[in-house]
């Protein structure tokens, strides 16, 4: 009897695995984005960037046109991988790293301070029930600050008021099928059950909320989707 249960469980796992796959692809930017501006960092923080002054990160594009920092997700999806590991954002060189993250509702968003200087960590959510907080991390030995948001919200902003150029954004979802495009524009959403979905790409400049890029996809043991975003033409 015990062996029968084990066999059935194993079969179920195999069957489950067989009916799910990864949605992968690459996001490319078409057009020339406006130049990034220098950050007005103070002398203390400048020391963390010898030889190269940090800039804004509105369009992070590699040599092949791959666009980083796009939030990619399956609209209306349910379930997905559990969110037992925290999403980690570090403060390093007086910048938030990474700039863009995604998290699941209730997942821990952990903010570290790797700098020898003080930062205040100030999420400014707009979603109902998502709590605004303003806490301090004196230096690298300060304990991590954990946050958790009960309501889905796009591009929830974190800022440091001590250093007025420090920002990070976390898109919070009520499911587990979301990711952020890497430096080369590639992305991967794992464990997607077979079926038809709407794949949505949001980028703070090229495809902001309200002008997201949406593509109908069919997952059958996985799917490969390449998308191109365009640098928006200036408003007339």
């Amino acid at each position: 009897m015990k062996s029968l249960i084990l066999t059935l469980t194993a079969l179920a796992i195999v069957a489950g695995t067989a009916s799910a796959g990864d949605v992968t692809g690459k996001i490319t930017l078409k057009g020339t984005p406006p130049p990034e501006g220098p950050l007005p960092i103070d002398p203390t923080c400048s020391k963390f960037h010898p030889g190269k002054a940090p800039t804004t990160r509105f369009y992070v594009v590699d040599a092949t046109g791959g666009l980083a920092d796009c939030v990619v997700y399956l609209e209306g999806a349910k379930g997905g991988a559990t969110a037992d590991k925290p999403v980690v954002i570090d403060q390093k060189g007086c910048e938030y790293l990474p700039y863009i993250s995604t998290a699941r509702v209730g997942q821990t968003v952990r903010v570290l301070n790797s700098d020898p200087v003080m930062h205040n960590v100030h999420p400014t959510p707009t979603g109902e029930g998502n709590k605004e907080q303003n806490r301090v991390q004196l230096n690298a030995s300060a304990p991590a600050l954990d946050h958790s948001f009960p309501t889905a919200e796009k591009f929830l902003r974190f800022k440091c008021d001590v250093h007025g150029w420090m920002f990070a954004y976390v898109s919070v979802f009520d499911h587990g099928f979301h990711t952020v495009s890497a430096k080369d524009g590639s992305f991967k959403i794992t464990g997607v059950p077979d079926g038809k979905y709407k794949l949505v790409v949001e980028h703070r400049r090229a495809a902001p909320v309200g002008k997201s890029v949406v593509k109908e996809i069919e997952v059958n043991g996985g799917a490969m989707v390449n998308l191109t975003l365009e640098v928006p033409a200036p408003a007339k």
Binding site: M118, N134, V162, W165, K236
Partner: protein, 388 residues
């Protein structure tokens, strides 16, 4: 009966008004630099008593916010002294009572492990010093009953203002900043009024009958214009404390049009074109309407101040002191108009935006003092205000 002029009281009142103007300037810098939350706790600063906060930690946004807190404390202390001075001997009792309350609070705090020693020492020290001073000062008669009440009002306002500023930080409530910013302007007007009525110039004007008085319709017009400026300043404070940057970044057009579109698609376009390292909150239709209301308000105020100037020149003559002050007022409004445009064209540069706040404050004060002069000294019929 008019009070005897006290030159040192007047000088101190002027100094307090100037300190208040400086405080508003520093507060303007705090908001312009988006540094209002750079010190997350209050009344402490990063756990320190604000007067023992190490200089080495005055960096970035903390420099603005902590300076504002200290300047606020200075103005609060000066207002307390001024209120005691205006109220005279009767105020010694409430100085004594207040000092004992602070002393008791300090002793109570000493029993708590949550309160740091510097805070305990500060409270106990303040209580003891205040209690001691109350036996030697103030010992004089009140300057005048009305001025004594104004002194008390100033003290209440400065306390409310300090608490509002603190709650804005601890309650993470941007909207409280709107009241904090607007009340600051009212407080400045009150301090300037106290400074004016304690001057020998004011007493001289009161002592003799004025040949040219201001007719009631003009007095009312002055009052309405001053209230319009206050409304305009409140609109400005509402815009600033949204922390959304410029809702309309161009001038004289607004998002390229006479009246900007505020549909959802247009808002998305406006927001994604903001390549600003300050990464303000996304602008909303309401913020655009607020901005446009401020522009219309500027035109209305401009017209009204010009109207005040013309009415005064027509009724009391070009050489009358009030007409001369009104000419200065109109010049101030022209400067303010230009600074408003410059604020937009500079993409809300912190120093320009702060200067805009300061000149706005000066415009309100000028209007308030003109109205006060017109309704008391240069009023045809005798007024109860003669006791000031």
């Amino acid at each position: 009966m008019p009070p005897v002029c006290q030159p040192w009281l007047h000088r101190f009142a002027v100094l307090t008004a100037l300190a208040t103007l400086a405080l508003i300037g520093i507060g303007g810098l705090v908001t312009s630099h988006g540094a209002g939350m750079a010190v997350p706790d209050w009344p402490n600063s990063y756990g320190y008593n604000m007067f023992t906060f190490p200089l080495s930690m005055w960096v970035g946004g903390i420099l603005y916010e902590h300076s504002h807190r200290l300047a606020g404390s200075v103005v609060g202390f000066m207002t307390l002294v001024l209120a005691l001075w205006l109220n005279g001997r009767p105020a010694a009792k409430w100085l004594r009572g207040g000092s004992l309350a602070v002393l008791a609070l300090g002793l109570l705090a000493s029993t708590s492990s949550n309160v740091k020693l510097d805070n305990v020492l500060f409270l106990v020290g303040t209580g003891v010093v205040g209690f001691g001073i109350s036996f030697v000062w103030p010992q004089h008669e009140p300057v005048s009953p009305r001025l004594a009440r104004f002194g008390l009002l100033a003290l209440v306002l400065v306390i409310v203002q300090g608490v509002l500023g603190g709650l804005r930080v601890t309650a993470l409530a941007d909207w409280l900043g709107i009241f904090h910013g607007t009340l600051a302007q009212c407080f400045l007007a009150l301090m300037c009024a106290i400074a004016m009525v304690t001057s020998s110039w004011w007493q001289g004007l009161k002592a003799k009958s004025q040949p040219m008085t201001v007719p009631a319709p003009v007095r009312n017009f002055l009052l309405v214009t001053t209230l319009l400026i206050l409304g305009q300043l409140a609109l400005g404070a509402s815009m600033r404390h949204q922390h959304a940057g410029l809702a309309v970044p161009d001038f004289p057009l607004a998002h390229g049009k006479g009246w900007p579109a505020t549909d959802a698609a247009s808002l998305v376009t406006y927001n994604r074109e903001r390549h600003d390292h300050r990464e303000f909150k996304a602008i909303t239709a309401g913020q655009i309407h607020l901005h446009m209301a401020h522009r219309i308000g500027a035109l209305v105020v401009f017209g009204h101040v010009l109207g005040c100037l013309l009415k005064l020149r027509r009724t009391v003559g070009v050489t009358h002191p009030l007409a001369k002050v009104a000419a200065g007022w109109f010049a101030l409004i022209c400067v303010q108009f230009g600074l408003g445009i410059w604020t937009v064209l500079s993409n809300k540069a912190a120093d320009i935006a702060t200067l805009h706040v300061l000149v706005g404050a000066a415009s309100l004060v000028t209007g308030a003092l003109l109205t006060l002069l017109a309704t008391t000294v240069f009023r045809a019929e005798p007024r109860a205000g003669a006791g000031l």
